[in-house]
């Protein structure tokens, strides 16, 4: 091609000959384009994190956890002390969590969740669509503790996880309220059922009470863990009929209407082979008692150490204030006679009471009635047989009729009630006949990783659509999930907001994602003489009667210095089989037999030594040998000069004001005994024993005499052949 020869270079750009319109169009388009491009530039450089970091994104790369954590881009002061008062995002991390969890190793999202790689406030905190793990707000963050410190039901409730009090509280509630009775969760097995066994409930309570209880348990017992099962009046009637058919000797009532009577004798067979005194002859026996005596006995025996009557006493065992409304008149008598016959798991210790004492207490208990609880006040259930009341004798007659196939109507109710009991999951907490434990509620494994769209929301629209809010609702108001199609079966346990939060925190911790093994640190049960002993003390509610460091009841002696006072071998023998140290007419209180295991006894003794700050096991003292004459001097002083026998008693001789001295050498340590003899008031300021100011030889002689008494002696009489 011929170039060059005719070449004339155009001075302007190629489109010189464009018409004016095209030029304008071109200019408009190109200007718009540049504007849009600048907009894109601006959008790129207008990043929120740039307020905190210039051009540089800070990040932690957690290879093992597969996380990229950029939270520190904005939260710069998180591991630097001294920023605690600065506003977010500069604030120092609260507590000393980071001391044990180095930021470089754990990052932030491991505990707090959220979207680690994100760099805007919303994205990073995960409150966005398409990110399933939003930041765990407030104490919910503690739920992550369970990732590396797994909890299970085998850990004792004394386990502590510093820094995760809410999570631990949730875990405790989870155990205490026996959620595992109906739900399943890995690491938790169905434990002993926490509610009282209902195997023979029909022998215990009356119908009026039962109906009212089923309607609203909290009305009778404020602190009960029993949830209101939300039953209709009809259902309550069926359930009551069924439960009342469960009498002693009748733990397997017939379920088929074709049951043939005649082979069943409810009055003969007992629970687990122990026939209770239910024969006709026993009836009315308790009425012989004296309720005033009974009242005194209840006070003196220390029943209020565990039970509560009219706002007085402790909450360890059932409140007895309204027991007169609750139980059949003869039940307290029969129960006290042999508690284990009614309920093999009954915790009540053996007070070794006489027949008379039992009768007195039983009569007194029956008189305990709450106001407004009288018959007739009870809302009658619509279903079931319309009866004004259900007195025990009549009940048994009716049941006998059922079992012999005479009352088919009642039998129908009973079967309906039984079905209800199964459906409502009563067996999760109560033992009833031999029904399988618990209702098969949805398993809780991985519930902390559930996505919002995997949850059933029913008709609920008034809460935020987050997992935590859903769980809160489920824990606090489970009944709200009932819709026209699905009946929510979970009962309302009446948790307050704080409890619910704790439980939800625990539940949020049940996640699917696994942490590498090297991050795991299993909690171990803390173990020390103190903790072991405390466990025994708590289990048997020792502080209901005894005092420890100014805490506890004042029915019996202060145990703070017991380690110093009593010999461990005696303590062991005493706890194994308690006996009355002080004679009966003066003091009715007595140490009941808790049937402690030997291990528990040893733990308790070690604990007492720990409290007295003395070494354990005790150093054993050398025996001192004395001449027989020395003892004679002491005997003389004891029996004649100082007349100790006026108050004390030795070998069945003497007064009954002070403790029996027959066994004193086995019981007390030498140091204690000597200190006591010298100055009783220095140990117990209000003791009635006078300070005798013995002379030295008198003191020696008395010691020699008393300490040779009993089985274990510090002082031995020299044998003279």
């Amino acid at each position: 091609m011929n170039v060059g020869a005719t070449r004339r270079v155009a001075p302007t750009f190629i489109f010189m000959k464009l018409t004016r319109n095209k030029l304008i169009l071109n200019a408009v388009f190109c200007l718009t384009l540049v504007a849009v491009i600048i907009w894109a530039l601006y959008a790129e450089y207008d990043r929120p994190w740039k307020k905190f970091q210039k051009e540089k994104i800070q990040q932690l790369r957690l290879q093992d956890l597969g996380e990229t954590d950029r939270c520190i881009t904005c939260h710069q002061g998180i591991d630097k002390p001294g920023f605690s008062n600065k506003p977010q995002p500069f604030k120092t991390h609260s507590g000393d969590y980071l001391k044990h969890h180095k930021v470089e190793k754990f990052g932030c999202v491991t505990c707090h969740e959220g979207q680690g790689a994100a760099l805007t406030v919303d994205d990073a905190h995960g409150d966005v669509k398409n990110w399933t793990k939003p930041v765990l707000k407030g104490s919910f963050a503690q739920s992550s503790c369970g990732k590396c410190h797994p909890m299970n039901h085998k850990l004792p409730l004394t386990v502590e996880l510093k820094g995760a009090p809410v999570f631990i509280q949730g875990w405790k509630l989870f155990n205490e309220y026996n959620c595992i009775g109906c739900h399943k969760l890995k690491g938790y097995e169905r434990p002993e059922r926490i509610g009282p066994a209902l195997t023979a409930i029909g022998s215990k309570v009356n119908r009026d009470w039962l109906i009212k209880w089923l309607k609203d348990p909290k009305e009778y017992l404020k602190n009960t863990k029993m949830p209101g099962p939300k039953l209709s009046d009809n259902e309550i009637g069926y359930m009551a009929d069924y439960l009342l058919s469960l009498t002693v000797g009748n733990e397997n009532p017939p379920t088929s209407p074709f049951f043939k009577g005649g082979i069943y004798s409810p009055l003969i067979r007992g629970v687990r082979g122990v026939p209770p005194p239910l024969a006709k002859g026993g009836e009315g026996e308790f009425e012989k008692g004296d309720s005033v005596e009974g009242k005194n006995l209840v006070k003196e025996l220390g029943c209020l150490g565990c039970h509560m009557i009219d706002e007085k006493g402790n909450n360890f065992a059932p409140d007895l204030s309204g027991i007169g409304n609750k139980v059949n008149a003869d039940w307290p008598y029969r129960f006290l006679k042999n508690p284990k016959a009614y309920d093999p798991k009954a915790k009540i210790p053996d007070f070794v009471m006489s027949e008379e004492e039992i009768q007195n207490i039983a009569v007194y208990l029956v008189t305990l009635k709450k106001k407004g609880r009288e018959k007739g006040d009870v809302i009658p259930a619509k279903a079931g047989i319309q009866r004004d009341n259900w007195i025990p004798g009549q009940a048994r007659n009716d049941i006998t009729k059922v079992f012999t196939g005479q009352n088919k109507f009642l039998l129908k109710n009973i079967n309906k009630g039984k079905k209800l009991v199964k459906d409502k999951g009563c067996t999760g907490c109560h033992e009833i006949e031999k029904l399988p434990a618990g209702y098969d509620a949805p398993p809780l494994d991985g519930i902390g990783s559930k996505r919002v769209d995997e949850l059933f929301w029913g008709n609920i629209t008034d809460i935020k659509k987050t997992l935590a809010d859903w769980l809160m609702m489920k824990v606090m108001h489970p009944e709200k999930f009932t819709s026209d199609k699905i009946v929510a079966r979970m009962p309302n346990y009446g948790f307050n907001e704080q409890q619910a939060k704790a439980l939800v925190t625990f539940l949020l911790g049940a996640r699917k994602d696994a942490v590498p093994v090297k991050y795991m640190k299993t909690l171990i049960e803390p173990d020390s003489p103190e903790i072991r002993g405390k466990k025994v003390f708590e289990k048997y509610n020792c502080l209901g009667c005894h005092k420890l460091n100014k805490k506890g009841g004042d029915v019996s002696v202060d145990l703070t210095k017991e380690g110093k006072k009593s010999r461990p071998d005696w303590l062991f023998a005493f706890l194994k089989t308690p006996y009355k140290i002080r004679p009966e007419p003066i003091l009715k209180a007595r140490m009941p037999d808790f049937k402690l295991s030997e291990k528990e006894i040893n733990n308790a003794i070690e604990y007492l030594a720990f409290l007295s700050e003395i070494p354990y096991p005790y150093p054993f003292e050398l025996k001192k040998e004395v001449q027989p004459e020395d003892i004679d001097d002491g005997e003389k002083l004891y029996h004649e000069i100082f007349a100790c026998v006026g108050c004390h008693r030795v070998n069945g001789r003497g007064g009954q004001v002070g403790p029996d001295h027959t066994d004193v050498a086995s019981r007390l340590t030498k140091e204690w005994f000597e200190q006591w003899l010298k100055d009783p008031q220095s140990i117990q300021s209000d003791v009635r024993m006078p300070k005798f100011k013995f002379q030295k030889w008198e003191f020696e002689a008395l010691t020699n005499y008393l300490l040779t008494l009993g089985k274990y002696r510090f002082v031995q009489v020299k044998k003279t052949d």
Binding site: M1, V3, R7, R8, V9, M16, A43, I57, A117, A118
Partner: protein, 252 residues
Amino acid sequence: MKGKNLRNKITDSQIYKSVFRHTYTDTKENRTLQIKSNVFLHLHPVKIPSHAMKIRFTWCMGGITFFMFLVEVITGILLMFYYRPVPEYVYLDMKYLEFDVPFGIILRNLHRWAAHLMLVTIMLHMLRVFLTGSYKPPREFNWVIGVVLLVTTFLLSFTGYLLPWDQLAYWAITVGTNMIRAAPVIGHEGPFALLNKYNDVRFMILGGTEIGANALLRFYVLHIMALPAAAIIFMAVHFWRIRKDGGISRPL
């Protein structure tokens, strides 16, 4: 006139002349040369009939589709710098692209939206070609190539759909590839199935019985290499045919 001298010096130099073979005087001849001597512009003829200048005749859909393809190529190449087709990384790479890579999110958006637009325009292009009867002789074969390009575009888009490795991708591809499972004869669940789960055509496409690392890599290779190459080749033929078969649509 120093500037002019310099300019003349440049434009007269051998180097300049070797690159630009025509002058910039606005003459008919140069306008012709502009088209003819430029490899890109010479996709066009020198002259086109007036009716083809009207947007309501061509809708410009073919051109726009090609432009979209170019956008896809450019943005696609750039995206590849930050993309690792491995299941462990891939989703995070998408997140990084969004959060920290400079201009990452806008590039991804451009790539995605241009792909959608391209599918719309290619369908409209086909509709227009049919309505103007432009598949009639001698352009029959170019129509066939057009259909092939349509299918290629669908496949390009479809393979690209898996690459973000999110739920949308995963399940869309699952649904899509499960249809192949039911293909007659060559799918293991279809009528007259001859093959089993481990040797049917779906297995070949996914490199496994379900969508996993192999499928991701396969879709990636198809998306960035195999299908674009095919598209480019067929496009070349398509454009060339247009020129050879009488240029823009018109009665012949």
